[in-house]
């Protein structure tokens, strides 16, 4: 490497690392940059149209995943805001059925415009079904992020109630987008 770069010793580098290696992760830092032309209709910006199901059943993460609970099964996907940010999704890598995840684990990866984006599971549980249609047609996520473009279904665990209470309601999620 060039002489003119200021080279420091490995010990100095260790010091810098120990300073920047994260101990805690402030959640407020997780926001995506705002969309320059966010639709005025707030409902639309989250992927809900007039014909959409009951909004109150949806809960959100600040990393733009949604979960809808039906009995002891949660259906999970990404929000319309997320798909708009990502652009055309060309590949969707889903977990195997029966994989167990803890809340916050990376459960899927989607690829768009040469970027591989990790997706984080909003709740702990075992995968009981994955949306196989996305393997052949990942663009369904762009077309219908909160309905046909769902990613996985998980069977909830006994800690589900506590975990769900930590998620964002639709109103709170929309506030994070501003």
């Amino acid at each position: 490497m060039s002489q003119s770069l200021i080279l420091k010793s490995a010990r100095d580098a260790t010091r810098v690392f120990s300073k920047i290696v994260q101990k805690t992760l402030p959640i407020s830092k997780n926001k995506l940059p705002p969309v320059p032309h966010l639709p005025h209709n707030v409902l639309r910006s989250c992927g809900f149209h007039n014909s959409a199901p009951n909004y109150s059943k949806f809960l959100f993460t600040d990393s733009h995943e949604w979960i809808k609970i039906d009995g002891d099964v949660g259906t999970i996907g990404i929000t319309n805001y997320a798909q708009e940010q990502l652009g055309d999704i060309v590949f969707c890598e889903l977990p195997e059925v029966a994989t167990e995840f803890s809340k916050g684990d990376i459960f899927a990866t989607v690829e768009s415009v040469k970027a591989a984006s990790d997706l984080y599971i909003p709740i702990s549980g075992e995968v009981v079904e994955v949306n196989e249609k996305l393997v052949d047609t990942p663009a369904i996520i762009n077309e219908s992020p909160t309905e046909d473009g769902w990613l996985v279904m998980v069977k909830l665990t006994s800690s589900a109630d506590d975990e769900l209470s930590e998620l964002l309601t639709q109103t709170d999620y929309e506030k994070t987008l501003n």
């Binding site: 490497m1 810098v16 994260q22 591989a116 984006s117 990790d118």
Partner: protein, 359 residues
């Protein structure tokens, strides 16, 4: 993302903007003498997972010995002549970022820009590089296209980009062809195998080395200028040379390297695919062999047409080949060790054709 269409390299675009839009963050620049691609990719992953970029951005400058680096969701057999590369000891690596396959050697410079999610901006990173090139060689006609490639003279790609995005951290890395072996670029990125799959495809581009346009450009000159412009964009900066396999500095980085260099990651992570091959048999006419490969292992073998002679061979091969790794070594070993209680000549011609999938 970059604006649509070509952004011309006018002074207003490239000279001024990097310096003008100064970040309040500090930056840390890492360089390394390590040229092991798995080790350098492991360093990127370590940084992505372990480091908080909320108060500092990082730039990592690195080079690899001859390797083909495929994107996260690609099929190595579709992108490159796998058996040939392994024989010639050219590494095959699967990176964690998206996008297509690229060839690296010491004539190619890699830049990785780490940032938190809110500062992720590929175009701004590329402008640092373009500004450096413009300052070093004012007559160079370079521009960023809508795929975030840097192109020379309107049509030749000299740099390709891809990225990895998490909820907190991101990295954007890009290549820069300075003086790479162009024959190898073409040879190592051409596979002749007929594969049906859903894996991410590469976009073919005509490539050129920067030295072809200006033979005064060197690795040191470019790196220093890029570092200089990158530093000026930040409130303060530090530059370090590091060993990307330093376990004391980067605890656990060895595990990342181990995973990235494993067969299970490089080949086993390939999205499901099928291959077919047709050949002519003197006695039976056209024969079609189809293989289905899942997670790198053979999941199904079909031989068409299902004539009486064929059914026995198909069943024989199916029971033995299913579950075998789709690798030249494993398949050659398996097929040559089998003693089929069948028409030997027909069996050989079928097994030779199966092996030729991997040539």
């Amino acid at each position: 993302m970059c604006a649509r269409g070509l952004l011309r390299n006018s002074a207003s675009n490239y000279f001024k903007s990097p310096a003008r839009r100064k970040s309040t963050k500090k930056c840390i620049v890492y360089t390394t003498k390590a040229t092991d691609p798995y080790q350098n990719l492991a360093f990127e992953d370590w940084m992505y997972e372990k480091v908080d970029f909320s108060s500092s951005n990082c730039l990592f400058i690195w080079r690899n010995e001859p390797s083909v680096i495929i994107g996260r969701h690609q099929n190595p057999w579709k992108e490159c002549p796998v058996t040939d590369l392994l024989r010639r000891e050219i590494h095959i690596c699967r990176r964690r970022s998206g996008g297509g396959a690229v060839y690296h050697d010491l004539g190619n410079i890699n830049f990785t820009f780490f940032s938190d999610r809110s500062s992720y901006d590929r175009c701004s990173n590329l402008r640092v590089i373009v500004a450096a090139l413009q300052q070093l060689s004012p007559n160079l006609d370079v521009a960023i296209n809508k795929r975030d490639d840097i192109i020379l003279n309107d049509r030749h790609k000299i740099s390709g980009s891809s990225s990895k995005l998490g909820r907190r951290s991101t990295y954007h890395h890009c290549t820069m062809l300075l003086d790479a072996n162009k024959t190898q670029v073409i040879k190592t990125l051409s596979a002749k195998i007929d594969i049906t799959c859903k894996a991410t495809s590469s976009v073919r581009s005509s490539v050129l080395n920067l030295v072809d346009a200006d033979n005064h450009l060197t690795f040191d000159l470019i790196c220093n200028k890029v570092v200089d412009i990158y530093q000026r964009k930040h409130a303060s900066s530090e530059v370090y040379e590091i060993s990307t396999n330093d376990e004391k500095l980067l605890p656990g980085v060895g595990k990342y390297r181990e995973e990235l260099s494993s067969w299970e990651w490089i080949f086993g992570k390939t999205p499901e695919f099928s291959l077919k091959r047709e050949f002519l048999n003197e006695a039976l006419g056209k024969i079609l062999i189809q293989l289905h490969v899942k997670k790198g292992f053979i999941e199904n073998v079909e031989i068409i047409p299902g004539l009486d002679e064929m059914v026995a061979i198909t069943t024989f091969l199916q029971t033995r080949m299913v579950g075998c790794r789709f690798s030249s070594q494993d398949l050659t070993h398996l097929l040559s060790s089998l003693v089929p209680p069948l028409d030997q000549k027909l069996y050989r011609s079928i097994s030779d054709n199966i092996l030729s999938f991997l040539q």
